[in-house]
């Protein structure tokens, strides 16, 4: 269906006219080409007759502008399809592939335009949740910066080309020429990993036809280190599956199990399920990492170590566990190598942590899970696999399944190979399918300079980006919302994707492009369905018939296709190489470690032009629109650096100038983190555009890739930081921690006592309602008793809520602070993006924010507390009382309503709001959408929610449009709204299932139960505002052995 130019019956351009097989009137065919073939050539000999001819032809052709290509429709709408009601949204299942792993999704479609992306509630990998990146993709689909046409670059001249014919012909000719050599000289570089069976099938066909062609795959988000580590340990390329529901102890080594892991949604849910103390014994999470991950902020115990120390730490831990637990590794692994000792392992803090952790692992053997992050070398993954096996975790908390396409070369090797063949001048035809290797490959490879050595290069991508700029052709890619696709989830299950709209800008998917290379002109549906039928032949019963296909498309996935765990056979591997500097407790200032992890928001930079992602506050730094060099506060002090100082970075001969410093409490001393994904020069009007012809936009953040030399690990030693003397302004949504003593003191006392109440599991078991006792214990009749806050009374009769009484609850114990709800809210409620300068002014518009506090006296190892805060819908709302025009009023269901068209914008309500959750439209933040080129972005708006004008206040509505929809539905059926029928956007996507919403009058509702939970408390209850959002105290489960150490 995106093959719009397949058989034109009318022509739209002269290229098409000449090359197409259309048959226009013969007179025109003879007349036109000679007259105005390629523009101004014929102009100098211009006489009157010729002028008249051209004018006549122009007039005749004016009508051609209204011609359209032939469209194919999935469902013809000559008659209204059954069940389709205009104005009522429809939901379709599809998926999105990130780093070669599919996320099952459901997309809400209004009148043929997708407006919201949610997780597929039927699929066990999602259960309704979607990652923040998948949710923000709706904005990407409507991005006006997406390239509309093919672009040809010849001799430095950029030409936009209307149709695919010329490109197809050129490639076909090149492939034909290469065919006798078996395709030698042809390189297909897949810049994004894919688990698509269709692509794999086409790739196999391609390899068959062109056996000597090189097909490489390298995705910065791929998890090749893990695959390779498992291959080292078991001789097979395997994916590690964690079943955290059964895990009593989780050890995350530089690993973000809860956000960036491909199965993070399921893992978050499983992890959070065991953080609710009422539901049984809790799990305990240890994290060892240099820079914070979401997992690290949730850890019961976190040890900041340099990334290079993770390997030695794990090796030492393994030795300790094996020895203390009298365990024996499986015979296949042979005698275990001697573990590293000394250095940092002997520092009291690390030694203590190691001892306690080892003892805990032994106690919980069989119920523990050890995870290593993708940035660590394969050997570390191998050790983790061995330790997991030795502890008996395999089969209970850890499973191994075959990795799709496991035989391919590693991502890092593939990149090096590409650089090598380009260098050797062996590449005649280079096709890059997706990705942006020129930006994301390590700078040391110098890929940018080498691409031009290919005689012909074409880059398929959504944007005319850094890589496209260096290729001869840029090919517009169809967004996944516009195309047929298939892929596999992390557990190996097959998911199917269907187009939710016609491609806005034309374009092909990698599948379609590959099919065209093979001369296959069939459309996406045929291709995917062909694969599906083939898979059914491979043992999936019943998919031959139409019903199975229809069901799979309807569900978005094929039930029962999950990969079966492999019984992995141990195989000996070499001991971990531990360089001396990795063991050193501290490193010299000029020889620091640079860590370049994937960003949690824009990933490897593919989300850089997505304004929602750019403006989303980072989960720990609360930075927007930039990355920054994160270093430990003590190291910043030592280097004389403070927040927003600009520095120059040098590492092994490569350098990066003017990078902003952000001293981050809890960062490992001796290393510095600069996340990938920023500093893009050809991203677009949002992420940065310096090289294009249009408006110049400063890049957001700094490009760490120029400093990197290896693609297989994300850290490297030898970094020197030089202070420049100037500064670079950063935009944080929360004041950074470097504040005066007055403020710091208040945070320490306030957060623990009032805002975020925390206790240990032991404390909870002894006293489940400890959160209510916030006042100092009092002496009554000679006994010291805990004091709850005295009940507050109103002077007047309060409202009674007879009908519904909406309320929400947030379980802080389950909440991981992953930010998914913030994007869900933004997408659902048409929340505008304001830009870096406005964020610096404190005018960000997010209705829901995640507050983050550092607690404790040790700046280098603090505790992190997070808390989502939106309007809590106070029953006695302070905002309502002060509005002079009654623009914010209470509904009889207890909602604190905001009447936009009554608001005149005095902002008094915001002043009087103790939570400062109200957001004001200081400008017309939707003004950009008025430009004709940007109007397409209006399509992303939710038609159920007003787009607010300038000068009015706005805030969380408890998704009142969803409440109304449920009430109308229930009203039509003449019944009450059932519990669980109203699901707010934040609740819907929460992977940790921490949010409950419903009717507090309904005694059986989940939210009522949460409000009655002994852990429940109200924020700032002493103001007697009676918030409708209750928080459930966070329960941590510290190891008593380490208890005294943690603050």
């Amino acid at each position: 269906m995106d093959e719009r130019n397949q058989s034109p019956t009318l022509w739209r351009s002269f290229e098409q006219f000449e090359q197409g097989d259309a048959a226009p009137a013969p007179t025109l065919r003879e007349f036109a080409p000679g007259q105005f073939a390629d523009g101004p050539d014929g102009l100098p000999n211009f006489d009157r007759r010729r002028f008249m001819q051209i004018m006549g032809a122009s007039t005749a052709l004016a009508g051609a502008a209204s011609c359209r290509w032939q469209e194919s429709t999935i469902v013809a709408e000559a008659v209204r399809p059954e069940g389709r009601v205009p104005g009522v949204p429809e939901h379709y299942a599809t998926h999105m592939e990130v780093g070669g792993v599919a996320q099952p999704l459901v997309v809400t479609v209004y009148e043929g335009r997708p407006i919201k992306i949610e997780g597929n509630a039927e699929h066990p990998e999602s259960l309704g949740s979607a990652s923040l990146y998948a949710q923000a993709a709706i904005l990407e689909a409507y991005d006006p910066d997406r390239n509309v046409r093919l672009v040809e670059r010849k001799d430095g001249i950029r030409t936009e080309v209307q149709s695919w014919e010329r490109f197809d012909a050129e490639v076909a000719a090149r492939l034909e020429a290469a065919a006798p050599r078996g395709g030698a000289g042809v390189v297909v570089f897949q810049g994004e990993a894919s688990s698509s069976p269709t692509l794999a099938r086409l790739r196999a066909q391609f390899a068959q036809r062109f056996p000597n062609a090189l097909w490489l795959e390298s995705d910065p988000l791929g998890r090749d280190a893990e695959r390779e580590g498992n291959r080292l340990a078991f001789g097979q390329s395997l994916h590690t599956q964690f079943r955290l529901l059964g895990a009593r102890l989780i050890l995350a080594l530089d690993s973000d199990l809860l956000t960036t892991h491909p199965a993070a949604l399921r893992q978050s849910r499983e992890f959070a399920a065991r953080r609710r103390p009422a539901d049984g014994p809790m799990n305990r999470l240890y994290a060892v990492e240099a820079n914070y991950s979401v997992t690290g902020t949730n850890a019961d115990h976190r040890l900041p170590l340099r990334a290079e120390q993770i390997g030695p730490f794990l090796a030492a831990l393994e030795a300790k566990v094996m020895e203390a637990g009298r365990l024996r590794a499986a015979a296949g692994w042979g005698e275990l190598p001697a573990a590293p000792t000394g250095g940092f392992l002997d520092t009291p803090k690390v030694a203590r942590f190691l001892d306690a952790l080892a003892a805990d692992l032994i106690v919980n053997r069989g119920d523990s899970a050890i995870a290593v992050g993708p940035g660590q070398p394969a050997a570390v993954h191998a050790i983790a696999a061995r330790l997991n096996t030795s502890l008996g975790n395999v089969g209970t908390t850890v499973e191994y399944v075959a990795a799709p396409g496991g035989d391919r070369v590693l991502a890092g090797t593939a990149l090096e190979q590409l650089a090598q063949v380009l260098d050797a001048g062996q590449v005649e035809t280079l096709l890059i399918l997706g990705g942006n290797p020129v930006y994301s490959a390590p700078g040391a490879l110098g890929l940018g300079a080498k691409i031009s050595r290919a005689g012909f290069s074409a880059h398929l991508s959504l944007y005319d980006d850094e890589t496209s700029a260096l290729c001869t052709w840029h090919l517009p890619r169809a967004h996944w919302l516009e195309a047929w696709s298939d892929a596999r989830t992390w557990d190996g299950g097959l998911v199917l994707g269907q187009p939710l709209m016609l491609p806005l800008y034309g374009g092909r998917t990698p599948i379609l492009l590959t099919a065209r290379l093979l001369g296959d002109a069939s459309d996406g549906q045929t291709l995917v369905r062909g694969t599906f039928a083939g898979l059914a032949g491979a043992g999936l019963v019943g998919s031959e018939d139409e019903k199975a296909w229809r069901k799979a498309i309807h569900d978005g996935f094929l039930a029962g296709s999950v990969a079966t765990p492999v019984a992995a056979q141990p195989r000996a591997f070499a001991a971990l190489e531990v360089p001396a500097r990795a063991l050193a407790a501290s490193v010299p200032a000029g020889q620091l470690e640079l860590i370049a992890p994937i960003d949690t928001k824009v990933l490897d930079g593919r989300g850089a032009n997505n304004a929602w992602l750019q403006e989303l506050p980072d989960f720990v730094t609360k930075l927007t629109w930039d990355n920054a060099l994160l270093i430990a506060p003590s190291m910043a002090k030592e280097l004389g650096l403070s927040f927003e100082d600009a520095v120059d970075l040098q590492i092994n001969g490569r350098s990066l100038e003017r990078v902003a410093v952000y001293p981050l409490p809890g960062h490992a001393v001796g290393s510095a983190t600069l996340v990938q994904g920023y500093g893009r020069v050809n991203a677009g009007k949002v992420g940065g555009a310096l090289r294009g012809a249009g408006e110049q936009v400063e890049p957001a953040g700094f490009d760490v890739n120029v400093l990197r030399s290896r693609a297989d690990v994300n850290f490297e030693a030898g970094l020197a930081i030089t202070r420049r003397g100037d500064s670079y302004e950063l935009a944080c949504t929360q004041e950074h921690f470097q504040m005066d003593a007055t403020g710091m003191g208040a945070i320490q006392t306030r957060v623990g006592e009032h805002l975020i109440r925390e206790g240990s599991e032991t404390q909870y078991r002894a006293n489940p309602d400890f959160a209510d006792y916030v006042l100092p214990p009092q002496e009554v009749d000679g006994r010291v008793v805990p004091t709850p806050y005295p009940p507050l009374q109103s002077l007047w009769t309060e409202h009674s809520y007879e009908g519904h009484k909406w309320g929400l609850s947030i379980d802080l114990s389950a909440c991981t602070g992953c930010n998914a709800c913030v994007v869900a809210c933004q997408s659902e409620n048409n929340i505008p993006v304001v830009g870096k300068e406005q964020v610096r002014r404190g005018r960000e518009m997010h209705w829901l924010r995640i507050d983050r506090y550092f607690l404790g006296s040790d700046m280098d190892d603090p505790k992190v507390a997070t808390q989502p805060v939106a309007c809590v819908h106070c029953e006695l709302a302070p905002c309502e009382q002060v509005c002079p025009v009654a623009a914010t009023v209470h509904s009889d269901e207890g909602l604190n309503d905001m009447v936009y068209n009554r608001c005149i914008g005095t902002r008094y309500c915001s002043n009087n709001c103790p939570f400062k959750v109200r957001r004001f439209n200081y400008f017309n933040y939707h003004k950009d959408l008025e430009a004709p080129a940007n109007e397409v972005q209006k399509l992303a708006h939710n038609p159920e929610v007003t787009v607010r004008m300038r000068g009015v206040m706005e805030k969380c509505t408890y998704c009142v449009q969803r409440i109304q929809a449920a009430k109308i539905k229930a009203g039509n059926a003449r019944r009450r709204v059932r519990d669980g029928e109203v699901v707010t956007a934040c609740q819907q996507t929460c992977p940790a299932d921490a949010i409950r919403f419903g009717d507090l009058n309904d005694t059986t509702s989940a939210v009522r139960a949460a409000h009655d939970d002994p852990r429940a408390y109200d924020l700032l209850a002493y103001l007697n505002i009676k918030p409708r959002t209750a928080y459930l105290a966070r329960i941590r489960n510290p190891n008593p052995q380490l208890e005294t150490q943690s603050v």
Binding site: T742, L755, R841, G842, R843, R852, V869, V885, R907, N912
Partner: protein, 468 residues
Amino acid sequence: MVTITQRVATLDNTSDDPRQRQPLILGNNDYTSITEKVCGVVEDPKVKKAWLIAFLIAVSLTGMLFALVGYLIVTGVGVWGNQIPVAWGWPIVNFVFWVGIGHAGTLISAILYLFRQNWRTSINRFAEAMTIFAVVCAGLFPGIHVGRAWLAYWLFPIPNQMLMWPQFRSPLLWDVFAVGTYASVSTVFWYMGMIPDLATIRDRAKHPLRRMLYGVLAMGWRGSARHWHRYERAYLLLAGLATPLVLSVHTIVSFDFAVSQLPGWHTTIFPPYFVAGAIFSGFAMVVTLAIPARAFFGMKDIITIRHLENMNKIILATGMMVGYAYAMEFFVAWYSGNEFEQFAFINRATGPYAWAYWIMVSCNVISPQIFWFKKARTSIPIMLVIAIFVNIGMWFERFVITISTLNRDFLPSSWGYFRPTLVDLGMLVGSFGLFFTLFLLFLRFLPMIAMAEVKSILPRPNGHGEAH
């Protein structure tokens, strides 16, 4: 016995010798000379260069103010530095500042009148004018401060097709009524007091146009005994009406803050504290304006050092009330045991806006202490400097109350630092431009001194006076 003529040479009437009541008007002035002097300014056919320069500067600043207002309305209130959490910024600071300035005028003309403080007669006219112009400046800000200025009329209880009343529980609405009443009553009071003087100018006018204009303004005043009788009655009544307004306006303005629940705003001391502060700043402004005006227009013998000294005494007294309020706020915060309340005040004095707090304390509490010394009270340069300090200090007081309270409230996550923009600064400067434009026009075209009232405190003519 010392005679008046003996003292004239020194122009000093500041002696506090209890045996001798000091004259309030010096320099051999009689009814005629007062009329000549005051009317002379209005009737002078030549435009004085200094006045013209001052006027041109003021008018251009006013132009800038209105250009900025236009820009603001077209673009959005984001052109200011306001943000979340500091949703009220300089515009509200300026509003409270200007409303406060206004207070001295009404106090002088109404309360001091009721207390029979005769020295008020020399300064009441232009203090009242100052009040009205200050209220004009103040009134500008709330109107343009709202996000949708074109709907600001919704603040008024106007019957409408939406069947919507304003929300009467909101202090902002009380503000609309309080400031509105105040502006109208003080304007009527000022204008009514001016009628006999306008009639004098009318009678002296030579040009028919002037005669007609001042004639219309004088509303047919003929100076008959009946006129005077009615006039005095009405004046007394209006003074009685205006007196509670002096107290109510700033009380209600303080409710904008006190009725909300923010720590640092939610205090019962605000109404008296705001009123004292308003009188304090108002008198400082009268002094600031009187010193150049009396020198420039040759009125040193009518607005004497004694007048200025009296005002300085009031500045000293109200300055100490304000200082007491500052101290009491801290005490109450400590005594309340509420840690949010305590933090709000500690944060004022030691947090990110400590500089503003200490500017406020030095200007408002410390600097007026010099007025304990008579030498300082009667020295023109010193009192001018102190009066300007007090003006600055009182602006900062409103800044501290508004901004350093809002910038850090309950949840540390929403704390933020407010930075003003150039538009903020331009509007503050522009509001002074507007104020001085109006004031300079007043000085030139209306009698700046209440001739009729001043004459009432002169010794009676015909030489009988000394017999009393």
